[in-house]
Amino acid sequence: MTQTMEPSSMTTSNGEKSHRPLGVYTRPKGGGGWRDWVTTVDHKKIGILYGAAALFFFVIGGIEALLIRLQLATPNGTVLGADTYNQVYTMHGVTMIFLAAMPLAAAFANYLIPLQIGARDVAFPRLNAMSFWVFLAGGIFINLSWLFGGAPDGGWFAYAPNTGIVFSPSHGMDFYAIGLQITGIASLVSGINLTVTIFNMRAPGMTLFKMPVFTWMMLVVQLLLVFAMPVIAVALFLLTFSRLYGATFFTPELGGDPLLWQHLFWIFGHPEVYILVLPAFGIISEVIPTFSRKPIFGYPFMVFSGIAIGFMGWGVWAHHMFVSGIGPVSVAAFSLSTMFIAVPTGVKILNWMATMWGGRIKFSAAMLFAIGVVSMFTIGGLSGVTHSVAPADTQQTDTYYIVAHFHYVIFGGIIFGLFSGFYFWWPKVFGHKLSEKMGKLNFWVMLVGFNLTFGPMHILGLQGMSRRIDTYSPGFGFETWNLVVTIGSFMIALSVLIFLINVVISARNARGLPPTEPDPWDARSLEWITPNPTPAHNFDEIPIVESLDEFWHRKYGSDEDGKVVRVATAEEVCQDGTAEGVHLPSPSYWPLVFAIGLPFIGLGLIYSLWLCVFGGALALMGLYAWVFEPVDDPDVDHHEPQKEDA
């Protein structure tokens, strides 16, 4: 983002020239170590921060899952007790969806979108930093509830009136409502930011239909975020006002309608399903062509089916509410729309298989995980279609069949996809590959553990075992399968442990060695044109794009018989990262300061308005200093290349 400033904006509000700003308005100059990270506005570092924070929450949510499974391993379990059990399953869902899966997708989006479209950063670098810090603040805020008298206990979809003070008297649901509001700000701002980035910052020649499928899916996701987050924001406002200020939105005695919450929640909640899964679809749409050594089959179909999912995702929300008494016409309409939305998803599955068909497939760890998505997500998709048959759904509602279904979608689809992305892009981000051997072990242990965990849940659910009940009595035939499920869940934990060990060992083995050669996978899209790890300025010069799979077409051409031949080596095509004089946006303290203010406002709303004053002052100070800090510090004119390695 090379920016030259117009003269008028070179002055701060007090009329001084900005290259001699007052002390507080000076932009940080880095200084190495942690200071670089807390003030960074670099989309790559923010992507890594997102990834690290989300993996941390992923482990916490995983521990919560293991606690649930320990409680349910045997009949009449006593590990947790009913009240704690409610809190643990609620926080497992909230953590995994809002604090692990969404920010992991944001990690990939932040790191890769600018690289795939040939840009040097996102449209609003400081807003990008703010999104991350606000997300982290929100995540910490929600988890603070453990220390302040109890976590949320109303389930992740928090049905009214169970979430009112009558049925949930601890402050847990307040932390839920305000905490998700805070992370919602992060998602909304990030959605706007990346939407503008994709529309506005494409390299010359990169038309919309020359964008990689990953970027396309991420564009759909950002637009879904932009339009879905305000709906959950309203739902959470109504809940907060009901709990804290006595609003009567969900008070049936006065005419309040608990179904209003369900509608608002699922109008957000179903697009949210696609917000979660489309990033994984995007990731494997990059991985599968690379390791099948074929272009993606039916690129326009891939793009348009993603767009179709984005639109149709708004018309299926009431299939979460078939048993709530919405009436036969609504049930019929939403049954049909639910069957229809399976079509574009099926198109994607077929296109991935057609991409692999006849390809020279290399079963790398990333590819294995991608194939895992195609197969496991399909199982989840099929059980999802069974829900669209409303009479059957009536039997399945609130049983473990539902739990089995959405874990096949969320774990089998999303988590497998994200792991595929880890193995694929690790050399891009950190300059060394993860061990393929341990990666394959990671995959197989996870695949077996995953199916042991969630496969039997189909049976348990059809046998009538209810979800969200803290225990069960012996004699219903639930014992064996529950034990199997618990064993499976610990296998998943083992596979995640293998991944974490792989991260540590691979980093240690790579120490002292030169970074991975460029283009380790013979890949197709623009991000691989930069050296590994990506230099701070991304591209030495912005590439001119002529075709889809631009990078691949620079490496391969065809001879006179039309056969594909290699025309250039990766070393010839890749840039060497030595550009000088690239002007990058300066770091800033204020996104962090603003974000720190928000949890204090939240605590203040719950406990004492004085904390609101403090938090509000901090956030306001952050915003005003943000507005008035000089746009660029001319003292640190130019980025020195190769100063830092991510």
Partner: protein, 198 residues
């Protein structure tokens, strides 16, 4: 609303700030859409409290709505002045717009206190909760707009708002017009559609 400017060409030809503002306003449509839906569901559920048809003072609110709509005109005049390089008139119209907005918010405060006195509290009924929440959110949006306008005014008074930065005024203008247009919907839904009486 960052203070970045872009001398570069963007892929769409729109500046980042302007495209960002449009996307943000698209998001705001869903926020108000959800709030308006909530009100529509609850307008007839006034429990033992005052019914909407009993309590609304339509002539009063019509006048304050007129004031708000006129502020869109003055907003356009402010932008047009700055685009011609006429900073003096830009300041005049910015201030007028902010004042009209403040009058509208003042009218809302008066309306709220009157309703409170007449027994319509925030917790009285789903109708009252939905009414105060919807109009309150709109009022907060107008108030924020007034803060933005005054920031522009101060910036101009200190000699920092010139013709080259007319786009900043345009962006605040987009936000301001949006808040006005939303009020047209809210006014129609709450006041003009015949309300239930007790």
């Amino acid at each position: 609303m960052t203070n970045q400017t872009h001398s570069e060409e963007t892929s769409t030809g729109l500046s980042h700030n302007k495209l960002g503002m449009w996307v943000f306003l698209g998001s705001e449509c869903l926020l108000f859409g959800a709030l308006i839906s909530t009100y529509l569901i609850y307008r007839g559920r006034f429990a033992d409290g005052p019914a909407p048809g009993d309590i609304f003072d339509i002539p009063f609110t019509s006048v304050s709505s007129f004031v708000l709509l006129m502020s869109s005109l003055t907003m356009v005049l402010a932008l047009s002045a700055l685009q011609r390089g006429d900073e003096r008139n830009n300041r005049l119209w910015l201030l007028t717009t902010a004042l009209l907005g403040a009058v509208f918010v003042g009218g809302q405060v008066y309306e709220f206190t009157t309703f409170l006195r007449e027994g319509l509290g925030y917790s009285t009924s789903p109708f009252s909760s939905a009414f105060f929440t919807l109009t309150g959110f709109h009022g907060v949006h107008v108030s924020l707009g007034v803060v933005f306008l005054m920031s522009l005014y101060i910036s101009s008074a200190r000699g920092n708002l010139h013709k080259e930065r007319a786009e900043t005024v345009e962006l605040i203008g987009l936000y301001w017009h949006f808040v006005d247009i939303v009020w047209i919907f809210i006014f129609t839904v709450i006041y003009l559609v015949p309300s239930p009486t007790s």
